[in-house]
Amino acid sequence: MHRSRLSALPRAHRASATLVACAALIACAVLALSCASRHPDARTAAETALHARYFGSTTPPKDNVFRFNNGAEPETYDPGIAVGQPDGRAARILFEGLTIPDPQTLEPRPAQASRWELSADGLTYTFHLRPGLQWSDGAPLTANDFLWSWMRVLRPSNAGRYASLMYPIDHAEEYNKGHADSSSVGLSAPDDTTFIVRLASPTPYFVFLTQFYTFCPTPRFAIEQYGDQWTRPGKIVSNGAYVLSEWRQQDRFVFTKNPRYWDAANVKLDRIEAYSVDDLNTSVNLYKSGAIAWTTSGYIPSTFIPYLRDFKDYQHGAYQGTYFYSINVTRKPLDNVWVRRALNWSIDRVSITRDLLKRSREPWGDFCPSGYPGYTPPPQIGFDPVKAREYLAKGGYPGGKGFPKISIMFNSSEDHKRLAEAIQQMWKRYLNIDIELSNQEWGSFLQATTAVQYDIARRSWIGDYLDPTTFLGCMMTGDGNNRAHYSNPRYDHLLHQAARELVPEKRLAMLSEAEKILLDDSPVLPVYQYSVNDLVKPYVHGIWPTALDTHPLAHVYIDREWEQHLAPVAGMAPVARVTPGPSARLAAIAGRFPIEETP
């Protein structure tokens, strides 16, 4: 009946009705597409002129509060068990270790400890705490608090994922693994302000480690009273520049200035609000609107980066991590070193980073990233299709003939997929071999990589401190992170030898030789080095891109006259470009974080 009525309508009326409906549809479609037209490359000249300098609002907030996006919801901010950037950032706002890193160079600076000495044999550190240190509830903070907190991290039942960072301490590894008694661990607190650390062997980067959140003191009385709940607002007691006054899951942390902090006179903010926004677009929207003043690195969609480069509030720098493909060396034909070399030398890293990643990453052919002080890395794996074809022929597959079907496995993500497709095409073009792609959901991917059930898998690694061992160590025979099942006695021997070597130059030379062996054996195919990319409002002072993406926030402040201060110093931090090789800026002993790539 409905239909018959429609057909009975006058023709003109029907047409106009259809027009109205179409117009409504088109209006909605235009509205919907208008966001697509914001694609970085499609901006108009007027738009560019309007926002030429800064991305979005540059009006400082009315209150003296620093707001930023901390990223994914932290699993915990208990410094003793925290892992990952968002967790670490929250923990660092609340807690402070013996040292803190310089916000630009990351060099360790005195914090809870005012000074320290190293014994002549390089094995014993004596840290002198500042007198009169207090917890945020007014209780005195002594060397015993450090002793208890570090032992807590090492306690096997604590199951701390970062306990291994403390392994340089004498007998720490044995105790953590349940093979030694707690009393044998090389820590002692002879008096309230003296904390003595005895190392198992000389560790050039140990002082840097003391700024890492795992090494922060935690309040014994609160932990013993409240158990797992001790980090809740109202229960938590901390020793950093801020205390936690409010927390709502998946939403926000509110940190208020801690009047009992030893350097409270130089803490200029009233509050820090850290939001837990995991959506990348939302993060940038909030920044543009001025609701937040800082998007932490990793929370900008990669497609925005070429566009954001024109803005003065965009910061970019080298990050101590590499993206690589791990090869299961136990599977045929990948057990053949010539095949692995062929695969390694036929990846056009420059084209990948230039065309696919729009120069947001640096092409990289070493396993360790750039920037280790004093370290001369071995020559990088290059791109040489002729050489690669020769290698493949030596491996028994001249012209790619008879090469079995193998697959590249990656966790579901558009970026990993596009990169895998590019490499698939390169291997087809240069080696004439067919590779399949296998896309796995995150949990399944982790299971398959830990069980080494794959041919080739996407991986990435971010070390914990600024020394090649943090990368090279995880390719030793039997290491839990050696998911290639790679094993070379010469490689292992060099690393063991380096661990006992007291002369730094000799030690680093051994490590460089080990890395050369690793690249030659090619159980890993490095692709690019990571970079830090973030946006900071020009009125925020004190945040620079650092090699470890570590940002002490204690002395960050809001500069309301930022426009006047702009002229001579050009406002924000210098934009640091990635420069391969050792860099003076990174010449501090530094530490790093794991990459937790979520699906």
Binding site: S34, C35, A159, A163, G227, L446
Partner: protein, 305 residues
Amino acid sequence: MFTYIVRRVLLIVPTLWVIATLTFFMMRLAPGGPFRAERDIPPAAMEQLRHKYGLDRPLGEQYGRFLVHAVTLDFGVSYKYPGRTVREIIFEAFPVSAELGGWALLLAVLAGVPIGVLAAVKRNTGADYSAMGVALAGVSIPNFVLGPALVLGLSLTIFLLPPALWHGPASRVLPVLTLSATYLAYIARLTRAGMLEVLRQDYIRTARAKGLSERVVVFKHALRLGFLPVVSFLGPAAARIVMGSIVVESIFAVPGLGRYLVNAAFNRDYTLVLGTVLFYALFLIVLNLLVDVAYAVLDPRVELG
């Protein structure tokens, strides 16, 4: 009707048991576990974690313990977020989703029903076509397109509303609009279809013949039955909208339950998955029951039993 309701309520228990059992074992079948990470966990630490959460016990025993605790609505602690109980996570996140969903549903009904009635009464006129054209667009445009479009227009071009974050009344506007659009459009279409059906019925003709005003005919006699398709849609729709939408909650950074539903499964957070799935199931079952009861109240021809 009372015995019917009692029977349905009693049926909830076995239904939930089946859902719980299926979820429990399906989660365990998925590869990986809650403590896997890109970075290796030392075997000793992994052992400690598994022991702490009872994952080192036989599966049957784990299942038994889970059932016993589930009866008291105790699902244990989340594996992903140590120190947070599943109950606490649900109780904190659900009210947020419920508020967002409640406003969205209210808007969808308050706007969708009048639009549908108007379109039905003025059928085949310009008003009808434009209303249904907009409704078609509302049904077709996914919220991950509508949400960013609204943000672009109302937050980043004219700085009228906050682009995200759940803080203050203004922050509610965009997520509520985005979430309700599809439901509003769907309800308008359902109402129109239902009303057209009813307006053709004999009893409406009788009502008109008695000389009742058109207003009384439409709103008192026709709408009561014409609203029925909307009622049956509202049950599952309310459950879905109130439990939160991962898309809308992500776009607007709303701290609701929708994000947990999906992410818990990715993280193999067994306890959180079970807690949220059972909570959702219970909600859905209860709402379906309410719909059936509402049917009987609205339509005298329906007999429960």
